[in-house]
């Protein structure tokens, strides 16, 4: 099933790429506790990505496993939203991005846990437990940074301002999304937007932050049209695997 394979790639790639960005913090966090927390979240995301990409490969039926999909595709073959590929920035940027994604992902998994596709439902159900912890973690930090010092407020507000135009893509839906939604397998992302918006508005308000205006939204990741950042990230990520074609690790 082409639409399902494509849909699973999108789910898997979002988490793979975001996991990689979070992993860049390892050993460089602002406090030891955050080194641990970000590594933990990154680990969960890679775990979800591995399961989703494995299923995508099986569904596609061309003999590609999760590693082939992660390490042997070029940037234009990736299907993640641009939001997750942006460089990690400062801690405020990383946390703001994480919060925006977690709030979306929590809603997404809650629906997918009821998928008619048993395997996907299983993955989503387990991932939903993980994402609830992630969302609590990022929400806590948005409150601390937004309502902390003037500097932290300014930094995290500026992060939201920069990130906002990348949020539209999370809720785009096309034929692929509608096809899997109609089959009861996937969720049409556009249906998640109102609840996401409500949640984000509530947290930002509590954090004394301003919700940025909706302007022209970035788009293209789902069709392989990425920012220039993704290619550099993949060059690094795939370097060892690419240097040794066919090797086992």
């Amino acid at each position: 099933d082409n639409a399902l394979a494509e849909y699973l790639l999108r789910l898997g790639d979002d988490r793979l790429v975001l996991g990689q960005r979070l992993a860049e913090w390892c050993g460089h966090g602002p406090i030891l506790e955050e080194d641990i927390a970000l590594a933990n979240i990154s680990l969960d995301l890679f775990g979800q990505a591995a399961l989703l990409l494995k299923l995508a490969g099986e569904t596609e039926g061309k003999g590609r496993d999760e590693d082939a999909l992660a390490f042997l595709r070029d940037a234009v073959e990736f299907r993640n939203v641009q939001l997750v590929e942006l460089p990690k920035g400062d801690f405020g940027f990383t946390i703001a991005r994480q919060f925006l994604f977690d709030a979306y992902s929590e809603l997404c998994y809650a629906e997918l846990a009821r998928s008619t596709h048993a395997e996907l439902a299983g993955i989503a159900s387990k991932a939903h437990k993980e994402i609830r912890y992630h969302l609590r973690h990022s929400t806590d930090w948005i409150l601390k940074l937004g309502d902390g010092t003037p500097e932290s407020h300014a930094r995290v507000q500026s992060a939201f301002d920069d990130l906002w135009r990348f949020t539209g893509e999370l809720f785009e839906s096309d034929d692929v999304d509608r096809a899997v939604a109609e089959q009861g397998i996937g969720v049409d992302p556009s249906t998640l937007r109102p609840r996401w918006r409500t949640r984000v508005e509530a947290v930002l308000a509590e954090a004394t932050l301003r919700v940025p205006n909706d302007g022209v939204m970035a788009s293209g990741g789902r069709r392989g049209r990425h920012t220039e950042y993704l290619g550099h990230m993949l060059a690094e990520m795939q370097s060892v695997a690419r240097a040794h074609p066919g090797a086992q690790w």
């Binding site: 390892c26 902390g148 086992q248």
Partner: protein, 309 residues
């Protein structure tokens, strides 16, 4: 003094010393020194391995590596908490690390240059740590001994994973085999140096042994590690870079060549391949995190004052 005699008697009887117990100041200082060096080593040790997280060649290996580095952060945190039972604050210790005043294991001043280094570090460096820590798990200070038991369990897991990476590479393509042999060549001698100077140059050891802060000498532990590791190297068919290495039937031990103590002292004194880079990386993380820590404090203060209002 009577208290000292009582203290030494308790240790001789195999009892553990607990935070509320009386202890000689020198004992306390030695423990703070050892425990903080250990904690610092866990923290700095995140850097050489963290250097390969973004490039790990499979998702499974990437996840194991992140989990390992995360464990190291956890060990660091856990041991810093242990030093607090001795009345020393974590912030104080971290400041000493960042200023370059505190020491940490010199092994982390060597660079990780290929993926194989990740396997070899797990095998050699965690292997050496286990030899040290298995002994420390019976050290006389209770909180440290208990921390070591827990940490050792995880290090054993890390060592197995490292050895598995090495075994996979050693059974892999010619390029992989070359890669792992090169990594073994680079890490072997620095790993032997991890056990510290030779006994004849290690003046502290007498008292530390009597107080069961240490329980074996540096050379005894080094020999134990070599004896454990040589057969493992043979099993995966990698050679150790020591032409003098030979089995001595009489002592049932592997006799090894001369350690380059000049290199050892050079690295200890700050002139190793990566000393500057490691300290710079820790300082950069700390400095760039200042505003985050300030925000967390300010928020907590606000929340408390709201609660009180």
């Amino acid at each position: 003094s009577a208290r000292l005699a009582e203290f030494e008697a308790r240790i001789a009887a195999g009892e553990t010393i607990e935070p509320k117990d009386w202890m000689p100041e020198r004992y306390r200082k030695q423990l703070v020194r050892m425990m903080s060096q250990h904690a610092h080593s866990e923290i700095v040790g995140m850097l050489p391995e963290g250097n390969w997280i973004t490039r790990a060649p499979s998702l499974r290996r990437k996840m194991s590596l992140i989990a390992k580095v995360q464990d190291e952060a956890g060990h660091g945190l856990y041991i810093y908490c242990g030093t607090e039972t001795l009345g020393v604050d974590r912030a104080e210790l971290v400041a000493e690390l960042l200023s370059g005043k505190a020491k940490y294991s010199s092994i982390f001043n060597y660079p990780t240059l290929t993926w194989a280094d990740i396997g070899v570090i797990g095998w050699f460096v965690d292997g050496a740590a286990i030899v040290n820590q298995t002994v420390l798990a019976k050290t006389s200070y209770g909180p440290y001994a208990r921390a070591m038991i827990r940490i050792c369990k995880e290090e054993n897991f890390h060592k197995r994973q490292g050895f598995e990476i090495v075994a996979t590479l050693a059974a892999g393509t010619p390029a992989q085999r070359e890669m792992v042999q090169d990594a073994v060549n680079r890490w072997w001698w620095p790993t032997l140096m991890m056990f510290g100077p030779s006994d004849k140059d290690s003046p502290n050891s007498g008292e530390l042994l009597r107080w069961r802060v240490k329980r074996f000498t540096n050379d005894e532990l080094r020999q134990r590690f070599v004896n454990l590791t040589v057969p493992q190297a043979q099993a995966v068919n990698v050679s150790l870079p020591d032409p003098e290495l030979r089995y001595d039937a009489a002592s049932e031990s592997w006799v090894f060549g001369q350690i380059d103590w000049d290199e050892f002292w050079r690295v200890v004194k700050g002139d190793g391949p990566c000393n500057r880079e490691r300290l710079a990386a820790r300082n950069k993380a700390h400095d760039e995190g200042a505003w985050v820590r300030a925000a967390a404090e300010a928020y907590a203060a606000k929340r408390d004052s709201r609660r009180d209002a």
